[in-house]
């Protein structure tokens, strides 16, 4: 098959999956919907694997889409390396997520709706990566956001889910507004929206309307506007606040959308426009990405919700990728995107399994000891976490190493006093914090814990180390036990879809998919396809390893200390408490927005309160919509009033005019008519019938006429 029809069929089956599952919702069908979706995904993967890896030449097909006057915008399919990897990546992750979901949501009444939305999501995401021009990308970009709205708000009777869905959509909309302006400016400077037309030759030097900017400055502005859209979708400062809330959706959906695929759409877009990212814009993007990753990592350290930790970790890792794109390290950044998709999806699915096991308890402090209860999940979790931290033998090691390499090269290029040096520093801090919160999470969720561990844990650090050693021994023991032949069979037999999907993703998170040598990024085939940075710093993996060990030691102790305080019911006091609160709430960013810009969203939550008393509702409405109320007041008090005043003026004018009509005009007419009547009467009197009078009159008139004649002539 030629690529065109492959892509056509591939997209088509997902669309069919969406429509079919949404329209047929009887009980039998509901049971089957998950498996139908899985079949679709498998077909999709088969289709896409028959696509050729584009080597040097990009493949593109163009269809006539719309033209207005001289402006032609085509529907264009563009397949380059970036597209190819995303195309397959999305479908593979979607496959695992669907597999996982069949069990996770099997009792849910709207399961067909859920799978329909998943299919629509995959469709939109594939459309996005295939898009050959910005308008087309924008189209799928918003569709992806729409799917995320649907999936976050999947449990639509849940108040928090609705608020999170609306928040995600609106913040993405705000980002889209920036992106749209970016598209406008880019059209202004290139007279075209195709990605392959963004070349220096096409630069239109006569772009108008921005008197204070050079063409270079305009380009920077355009890129930063596009970055506004990226910041919303990929959860970067200052628009990242929607992502932690988005965890209200079903956990597998979070894995697919808010970890592995949708949020990387922003990074993908940056990669697409990377040739036109100017150095200034690049620096801004890199710094914002770096800052986001540090702040998010700090917040992740203080979360108790298992999914929230992962959510902040996602923001943090996205910050890495965005920084990479800003630095111009497209290959490294894209590499990290790919590896991150696997291990983060793995982590989320593991978290889903944990939550399922804990009967929808998400507070990590209430977990513990799960190591022995769900060992498969634990191992998968361990591998994925190691990958996230960037330990050897994992895919994360390779991609993180290449990113850090690029960062160090970027930061030190212009000496050590340049602002660029902040980028590798921030990434270093983030690496440390990443190790910290992942260890903390592992300890809290999986490791052994006594029923009342207070006195034992207080005693000494030595004890805690003992605990650690014991835990690792447990791991080994558990491993050995399951190696017996019968046990292996039992193990496989008992293997549920949860286990299969997390194992699959854990395997994908190891090195061998990406490089023949687990220790050397030089040999990663991925970076041969993509352009890579030449400079190589061999000390970076060692530094990461060192940071990990330090973080392990501190985090291990700190976590047990934290748990001890929790069991004792001790509260943090003074400055500690303030810092804790600040970090946990992600630096009050959310409430800051709520108070200033996004008071509308706040009103959503207050209005949606379960209290149905009417007066309360109306009072919140009047309170919350301040701006719109002002406009409404203008409308009713001024505009409508003005109209009313004018109409009353007209009415009083017409009253006056009617009076004038009555008294003056009509009066005059009456008077005249009366006058005429009187005249007639008087004249009638003169018609007395006396012939002498007539003669006299005639004589006077003749005399008069003669007189006049004499006077005039």
């Amino acid at each position: 098959m030629n690529p065109e029809s492959i892509i056509f069929y591939n997209l088509f089956i997902y669309l069919v999956g969406f429509v079919l599952l949404l329209s047929l919702n009887n009980t039998v069908f509901k049971q089957l919907s998950g498996w139908i979706s899985i079949v679709i995904s498998v077909l999709g993967i088969i289709f896409s694997s028959s696509l050729q890896v584009p080597s040097t030449e990009n493949f593109s097909i163009s269809y006539n889409w719309l033209h207005l006057g001289d402006t032609h915008i085509n529907f264009k399919i563009l397949i380059d390396n970036q597209t190819y990897f995303m195309y397959i990546l999305v479908q593979i992750i979607a496959f695992f997520v669907k597999l996982f979901s069949t069990k996770y949501l099997d009792h849910d009444d709207g399961i067909n709706r859920y799978f329909a939305f998943l299919n629509l999501f995959v469709f939109s995401m594939l459309g996005l990566v295939l898009a050959g021009n910005l308008l087309q990308l924008y189209l799928f970009w918003e569709l992806v956001g729409f799917c995320s709205y649907l999936l976050i708000g999947f449990w639509y009777t849940k108040k928090a889910a609705n608020s999170a869905a609306i928040k995600a959509f609106l913040i993405n909309r705000l980002g889209d507004a920036f992106l749209m302006v970016g598209i406008f400016i880019l059209f202004l400077i290139y007279r075209n929206l195709d990605f392959d037309a963004f070349t220096p030759e096409n630069l239109n030097k006569t772009a108008f309307g921005f008197p204070f900017l050079t063409i270079e400055g305009l380009q920077t502005l355009a890129v930063l506007m596009v970055f506004g859209g990226v910041a919303a979708k990929s959860a970067q400062l200052p628009l990242q606040i929607w992502l932690p809330d988005a965890m209200e959706g079903p956990t597998p959906a979070s894995a697919l959308i808010h970890a592995a695929t949708m949020v990387v759409a922003g990074v993908f877009l940056l990669g697409r426009i990377s040739p036109i990212i100017t150095p200034d814009a690049g620096l801004v993007i890199a710094l914002i990405g770096g800052l986001t990753s540090v702040l998010a990592a700090i917040s992740a350290v203080f979360q108790y919700d298992i999914k929230k930790v992962l959510a902040y970790s996602t923001i943090s890792q996205l910050g890495f990728m965005v920084t990479g794109m800003g630095m111009g390290a497209v290959g490294a950044s894209f590499f990290h995107l790919t590896t991150h998709a696997f291990f983060k999806a793995g982590l989320f699915l593991c978290a889903g399994a944990v939550i399922n096991y804990m009967h929808h308890e998400q507070d990590m402090r209430k977990m513990g000891n799960l190591l022995l209860k769900i060992p498969v999940v634990f191992y998968a979790y361990l591998i994925c976490a190691a990958s996230l931290i960037g330990l050897p033998f994992t895919s994360g090691f390779l991609s993180k190493d290449s990113l850090l390499n690029a960062a160090v090269a970027f930061g030190t290029k212009d000496g050590y006093t340049n602002i660029k040096i902040l980028v590798p520093i921030m990434m270093g801090i983030t690496s440390f914090l990443t190790s910290f919160y992942m260890v903390r999470q592992l300890v809290m969720v999986f490791f052994q814990r006594q029923e009342s561990p207070v006195d034992k844990i207080i005693s000494s650090t030595k004890r805690t180390f003992d605990g650690a050693i014991k835990s690792f021994q447990d791991i080994l023991n558990a491993d050995n036990e399951s190696l017996g032949e019968e046990k292996v069979i039992n193990f496989v037999r008992n293997l549920g879809v949860f286990d299969v999907s997390v194992i699959g993703l854990a395997i994908c998170s190891t090195w061998f998919l990406f490089s023949s040598n687990p220790f050397s990024i030089e040999e990663a085939w991925f970076l041969e396809v993509f352009p890579k940075d030449e400079t190589h710093f061999p000390w970076i993996p060692l530094a990461v390893g060192f940071l990990f060990i330090v973080a392990l030691l501190i985090s291990y102790n700190a976590t047990y200390e934290e748990l001890r305080r929790y069991y004792l019911g001790e509260r943090k006091r003074g400055w500690q408490r303030n810092i804790f609160r600040m970090a946990k709430s992600h630096f009050y960013l959310d409430s800051f927005y709520k108070k200033t810009f996004f008071f509308l969203i706040k009103s959503n939550q207050s209005i949606d309160s379960e209290k149905h008393s009417n007066e309360l509702k109306t009072s919140t409405i009047t309170k919350s919509f301040e701006i719109s109320n002002i406009f409404q007041k203008i409308e009713s008090n001024y505009l409508d009033n003005l109209i009313k005043k004018i109409s009353s003026l007209v009415i009083s004018l017409s009253e006056y005019s009617s009076k004038i009509d009555d008294k003056i005009v009509d009066g005059l007419v009456l008077k005249i008519s009366f006058g005429l009547k009187n005249l007639g009467n008087n004249i009638r009197k003169s018609q007395s019938g006396q012939i002498q009078l007539y003669v006299l009159g005639m004589a006077i008139i003749i005399l008069f006429i003669v007189l006049v004649k004499i006077i005039i002539f």
């Binding site: 006057g69 189209l139 609106l170 949606d608």
Partner: protein, 522 residues
Amino acid sequence: MQSGLLSSLIILPLIASIVILLLPESYKGSYRWIALIVQILLLINTGTFIGGFEANHTGYQFLEHFEWIRLTLGKTSILSIDYIVGIDGLSLSMVALSVIVFFVANISSFSINKKEKAYYSLFLLLSASVIGCFIAVDFFLFFIFFEFMLLPMYFLIGIWGGPNKAYASLKFIIYTLVGSVMILVVMIALAMSNVDEFFTSEYKRTVFSFDFRILSDQANLLNGSLLNIENPIKIFGVYARDFMFILLFIGFGIKLPMVPFHTWLPDAHVEAPTPISVILAGILLKIGGYGLIRIAFGFFPDVAVNYGLLISIIGLISILYGGFNALAQKDLKKLIAYSSISHMGFVLLGIGAFNVEGFNGAIFQMFSHGLLSSMLFLIAGVLYERTKNREIQNFKGLAKIMPIFTVMVAIAFFGSLGLPSLSGFIGEFFTLFGSFQATTIPKVIPILGVLGIVLSAIYLLWTFQKMFFGEFWTKEDFKNNLEDLNQKEIIMLGILGVLTLLFGIFPNILFDLVNHTVIQFF
């Protein structure tokens, strides 16, 4: 080609209207079907026009031309008023929209069972005059249809409307009449300044004409006449042509409606019965936009260039003002009415850009808004019919008991807030795009206009969430009344929904029709 096919778009509903009037009351049940059959015939008829329309030709097609009035003015001149109908891309798109909207409104009218005879005959009368307005190629004819529309509209709101119908219908008619007076002034001035060269040489007398084709060509302007381009005469301190343009702008702006001449709209919508709201929002507002493009910009292009900025600013104000007001509404229908104002602001923005992209975008936006606002008002009607209540806060969690309805509402709402792949997006995007590419307009206007799409997302999603999500709850016990959509409603909303999707994905269906007509303006 004088086939009379085009005129049948006007004559058919007129005849049907009279037939319904003459039919005795015992045939009461047949009125709606007669009306529906007429609407279906109109749909088919329009279909043949779209099929036979040659998109690459500029100028009017399917012209039908009859002499009507030849008024001798003194010894030297003749005033010629003709019956000319014809369509070009712009009018064809609007005719297509009207037949769709009228068809849907006709189905929606089935729920009206008060004075059916009068209702359907007025309804058909309205249909005839609206279509007449779009296909008239003579200003005088256009004006007659434009004015005549008010009569059925006044009664349709005034008799079948809500509790405050008298006030609303009067407000509607006064506003529109004020606009009409302004248009009338311009019409007379235009006709008295334009000369039909061909007939002038034939009759050996100056022939003043109302023909659109003559009015749009500035070569026909009589030397020394009021509207001649070189004429230095000023009226109230502005040049005569400028003055006339402003009159037209306000006249059609009231109809559009643009802020601050919009206050008739929310009242009229709230009081009007559902099908009339559908027609009002779906098609009557478009006559304002149509008039602006065809008449104000078509006949005064030299003046229009200078007023692009003003129009854009007013468009921007309409977008934001309408949006913020929509946010403050508690009545669903009023919210939709204000969202209409906001969306028609995009039309102004596109027209103000005065370039191909902007004009195309504006026409598309009108078309798409016609479909979407019809859907929105039908949705409000569905709720009102079941509960006699439209307050947003009285409903909650409707998704649970009305799933099909929720899907339809989702299509309409997301279409209105400009989700790509639904038609609203294309219109909004290209009006903003055109505005951004225009040399005369500072970039800050379209950039602020982009905020309009954020705003519409806020008020529509907020409403959607409040009414449809959460646990089911209503203020009073409406539960027994709240059934999911019946077949009639599924057909109406389904047709519009599918069209929205179709035009959202294949916008070129419309752009191809109007493109060549639009290029002519520049």
